[in-house]
Symmetry: C2
Subunit: 117 residues, 2 copies
């Protein structure tokens, strides 16, 4: 009784998501960290500079207040996409490239075909 196949005019599949809510949420959070124009620009600056960049550079590079820059850096860091190192009064941020690569891989894996439909 439980296993009766669905009979419908529109489709023969009976699809279920293999991506659970619990698995989708952290991926969505990392993508949300990326999904802001100003955070993309910050990341682009950090990514293009091979070394570590002082916050004052970032504040000058974008038309945003210092607290706002600080907020965006915090979001990126919470997502694991960047990290920083404190030297005296200065903070130097850098991209965690392996995190970006992992994110790419997850996007790729998300839509890897596996079922006929």
């Amino acid at each position: 009784m439980e296993l009766e196949p669905k009979v419908r005019g529109c489709c023969r599949l009976d699809v279920r998501s293999e991506l659970t809510e619990a698995a989708a949420r952290p991926l969505a959070e990392r993508l949300a960290a990326l999904a802001d124009p100003n955070r993309l620009r910050l990341l682009e600056i950090l990514g293009r500079c091979a070394g570590k960049v002082c916050v004052c550079e970032l504040v000058e590079a974008l038309p945003l207040s210092q607290p706002t820059i600080s907020h965006h850096l915090r979001v990126l860091r919470a997502a694991g996409l960047i990290d920083y190192e404190k030297r005296g009064v200065w903070a130097y941020y850098y991209v965690r490239r392996e995190a970006l690569q992992e994110l790419e891989a997850q996007i790729r894996g998300l839509v890897a075909p596996s079922v006929e439909g």
Copy 2:
């Protein structure tokens, strides 16, 4: 007078974002379309099924109302990540894999190192 080099204790760089606001915005919008757990789950279902999937399947697969599913499909479609085909009263959605691949490439290109720092 305009070209005097910056003298600062913290850094010797004078960084500018090569990613303009105008270029960052559409990329951020596509990422924002991806940055929702339920949209990721929809995309995962569409991606895993090689063919095209009827909306009724999607409504059954996730614990969301039909209007909400329809809204999310609209967002994904506006971002160019999926498309659909109408057959009679039914609508069949599918992933635009080339759009996902382009998005991956843009993330990769974003943080390609090019400047000493």
